[in-house]
């Protein structure tokens, strides 16, 4: 064993210097296969009713929704619904279901299937099921017409276009195979691609569904491969070597380098994604609003934007990212001001800092780590000792949900992006009081705030302007309470092969490539 040491050591050295030289092959030389390489595992939840994670990309290629939202044009595009109308009070919505659509199981799409799909998702109550909360009743008028009755005038057209929880699946597949069938790694969608195979968490392969209603006349890919490659340098090399068509989550250093490669195209698009540091409002010393405000004044925001994000982000104003309706330009922003922070700490009874905090972030996320280190350095100037701990998402989340409050972290760093295109997704999930902890990892509880956003949500279908006003008031409360650190609204920067064509970023479906619309063309 001792003699093997030197050998083992050399192996480690080579590994350290050469990680990434050997990427796994995608066999991409045959033209109709597209390869999407992500930093994250492709599918967390296989069940379309439960889906609320990375699988949004795979799901939106296997399954479809009634409508799809195009925020750039502010238009809803028909997908499984060919048309819809809402009553003047916004409480009754009728959708025409597309005829001649086949599920991958061979069964035909009908209004019944739509009703059963949505009802199953609602009943399971997992993932994004809450988006259906305003729906009181679903009525099937005829095999291709369906009517929704709402309890309040919510924007149902946006809800049915959600990237999560609104996918229509073949309910017969569940009836025949049991409730857990999806979770075991099966699917029964209508999308252009169907599941061919998957290997654990690393790889998912989709192949084209011959009977897709859109047809296969134009230029399309026959197969789509999704792979998880955790190493950023490897991802960058794979796209350079042509082993990947589309790569996400590259460190900005790599982007700068890839820009000079003519075979690579870099896209840069605004997103609805922001990065927050949720402050534990229930645990001392952060249960004191003054301390939370002090820390909000101790974050070097400009340095984060300029040096870490290289300008691919802007400092957030409150929890709703710029560009999304409900974003409030008039909200105050905290700026780096250590004197003010010291002052606030003094008022809070910590004239000389002197406490310890734990910050958790998702390990492997370079941006989060660098920000954590920067914040640690800045807090240390207030004599606040910040322990930063990178953890895989599941344990990080579990710690946040720990039964004993004292075991939980003080600062929870995470990204948020909306399920469907509404500010309520940010305001509700992260800050509305919860009986059992889910995503309110600030443990924020404020009945006035709850009332404002619930009210806003209820009227957002009928009176958008008033809703925006209420959401604005709620955000003022939140920012004044300093329930979270608001780091930045992100810009998505992605690298793809220059000959990968037809891709259009849609911030309502973050990270999703609708592969049916793409093809490999000559430059």
């Amino acid at each position: 064993m001792k003699r093997g040491l030197v050998k083992g050591f050399i192996a480690v050295l080579i590994l350290a210097l050469a990680v990434g030289v050997t990427g796994c092959g995608g066999g991409s030389k045959t033209p109709p296969v597209a390869v999407y390489i992500s930093a994250n595992q492709a599918v967390v939840f296989w069940d379309p009713s439960d889906s609320f994670s990375n699988e949004i990309i795979v799901m939106n290629n296997m399954y479809e929704t009634l409508l799809r939202y195009d925020p750039a044009a502010n238009k809803l595009l028909p997908v499984l619904a060919t048309g819809y109308k809402a009553s003047s009070d916004g409480l009754t919505w009728t959708f025409d279901i597309r005829k001649g659509v086949k599920f991958h199981t061979g069964n035909e799409l009908t209004a019944d299937a739509v009703k059963t799909s949505i009802e199953r998702t609602t009943k399971r109550g997992m993932g994004a099921a809450f988006i259906w909360a305003p729906v009181k009743e679903i009525k099937v008028l005829d095999p291709y017409k369906i009517e929704f009755h709402l309890t309040y005038p919510a924007p149902l057209d946006l809800i049915v276009a959600s990237g999560y929880g609104a996918h229509i699946f073949d309910p017969k597949a569940v009836q025949q195979n049991g409730e857990d069938w999806f979770s075991q790694g099966h699917e029964a969608g209508t999308g252009p691609y169907q599941l061919e195979s998957f290997k654990g968490k690393e790889e998912v392969v989709l192949k084209k569904f011959d009977q897709y209603w859109g047809g296969w006349k134009g230029k399309h890919f026959d197969k789509v491969v999704f792979q998880e490659v955790a190493e950023a340098a490897t991802r960058a090399q794979m796209v350079q070597a042509g082993q990947a068509d589309f790569v996400d989550n590259l460190p900005l250093e790599q982007i700068e380098r890839l820009k000079s490669d003519p075979k690579i195209a870099i896209t840069q698009t605004p997103s609805y994604q922001n990065l927050l540091g949720l402050l534990n409002t229930k645990k001392p010393p952060l249960d004191n609003k003054l301390v939370r405000q002090a820390l909000s004044y101790a974050v070097p925001y400009d340095q984060i934007i300029k040096d870490i994000m290289k300008g691919y982000a802007t400092q957030s104003k409150g929890p709703v990212p710029a560009g999304l309706w409900g974003h409030d330009e008039s909200l105050p922003q905290y700026k780096l001001d250590l004197d003010k922070a010291r002052d606030l700490l003094k008022q809070a009874g910590y004239p000389n800092g002197g406490f310890k905090l734990l910050l958790t972030y998702a390990s492997g996320d370079e941006i989060e780590r660098q920000i954590a280190e920067l914040v640690k350095a800045s807090f240390s100037k207030l004599n606040v000792n910040l322990e930063i701990r990178g953890m895989p998402w599941e344990p990080q989340w579990d710690l946040g949900k720990a039964t004993k409050s004292k075991d939980r972290q003080d600062i929870f760093v995470m990204y948020w992006w909306p399920d469907y295109t509404t500010p309520y997704s940010f305001l509700y999930n992260m800050f509305h009081s919860e009986d059992t902890v889910n995503f309110n990892l600030a443990y924020y509880g404020n009945s006035e705030y709850d009332r404002l956003i619930d009210e806003g949500q209820k009227i957002s279908g009928s009176d958008r302007q008033k809703a925006i006003g209420l959401f604005g008031q709620a955000q003022k409360l939140l920012v004044d309470d300093a329930a979270s650190l608001y780091f930045f609204d992100q810009m998505y920067v992605r690298a793809m092969r220059a000959d990968f064509q037809g891709y259009q970023d849609n911030p309502s479906y973050p990270h999703v490539v609708f592969f049916y619309e793409t093809h490999r063309g000559s430059k």
């Binding site: 210097l17 990680v19 280190e373 920067l374 930063i388």
Partner: protein, 298 residues
């Protein structure tokens, strides 16, 4: 103690006194000498880290993102990292961490392993059987795997990494010392001590232990390198030191993201690991030769 071998008297070396002879052996063995010099430099650097490092504060919490990822220059001979910290300072303080980890982990392993080995060897029988089967269980796992599992259980931190390394390492010492104890307990001086009624603990720790120390020293000095490597590996995997600690393995791990664009990032901490491990191996090998009566005869 043993009868004089007549052949030895002819040798010139026999006439040299102990220390001089040892130095002579050391000089003859160039690799050991080189290793020893590197180890001494490392120890000096670690002890004098705040003096040697050009920017001692950079080793820990200080950040200057405006200087991020600068290539080596006169003001930053090893370049800077993505937080704008001076790499030389971090590598220098890394020596401190690595040596501390080595000392503590080996110390803990010895603390567990040596008494157990002594008991097993001295008492024999059931106690021997029990202790040795336990060590067999531990030895059946590759040490890195076992340490990984333990840190995963305890939670990632440098302290836990040290505990994990010690827990995966002690059986080697138990085995080694048991072998020594088994042969020593039959020797005349032990028998004599027993005969005049010296209590057992005293026999074990005053008579057997000192005579079994040489192989432990050799083993420990060779393990030092392995342990530095193991702690670097654990940190590389995210299970040991946590950012912003300037642990070599951790720096290499983070540097992977930048190695296509900033060659110096992984190179210098990588070289530091390389040199440290190699040096301790040379020293360990040399010590074995010097302390081993067979090779001494040359």
């Amino acid at each position: 103690m043993s009868a004089v071998d007549p052949g030895r008297e002819k040798g010139r070396r026999f006439a040299l006194p102990g220390l001089a002879y040892n130095l002579y052996l050391l000089r003859k063995n160039v690799l050991t000498l080189v290793g020893l010099i590197v180890v001494l430099v490392l120890v000096l650097v670690a002890v004098l880290a705040p003096v040697v490092a050009p920017y001692p504060k950079d080793a820990f919490a200080d950040v200057h993102t405006e200087h991020r990822l600068q290539a080596p220059s006169r003001s930053h001979p090893f370049g800077t990292d993505e937080m704008g910290r001076d790499m030389l300072s971090r590598v220098v303080f890394g020596a401190r961490i690595s040596l501390t980890v080595g000392i503590i982990a080996i110390g803990l392993a010895l603390l567990i392993g040596v008494p157990l080995g002594l008991f097993a060897g001295y008492f024999g029988g059931f106690i021997d059987e029990l202790i040795m089967r336990i060590t067999d269980v531990f030895l059946s796992f590759p040490p890195l795997l076992l340490a990984t599992a333990i840190t995963a259980m305890l939670g990632p931190s440098l302290t836990n990494a040290m505990i994990a390394i010690a827990l995966s390492w002690w059986p080697w010492y138990t085995r080694l010392i048991r072998g020594q104890a088994v042969s020593l307990r039959e020797r005349g001086f032990v028998e004599a001590a027993r005969a005049i009624g010296v209590p057992r603990p005293r026999i074990i720790f005053r008579h057997i232990l000192p005579n079994a120390v040489a192989p432990i020293i050799v083993q420990a000095s060779m393990d030092f390198g392995s342990i530095i490597l193991e702690s670097a590996s654990l940190s590389f995997l995210g299970l040991g030191a946590q950012p912003p600690q300037p642990e070599w393995g951790l720096i290499v791990s983070i540097g992977r993201n930048f190695f296509m664009t900033s060659w110096w990032y992984v190179t210098f901490p990588g070289l530091a690991i390389f040199l440290a491990v190699l040096a301790f191996n040379f020293v360990g090998d040399g010590l074995r030769e010097i302390l081993d009566p067979k090779t001494r005869e040359g």
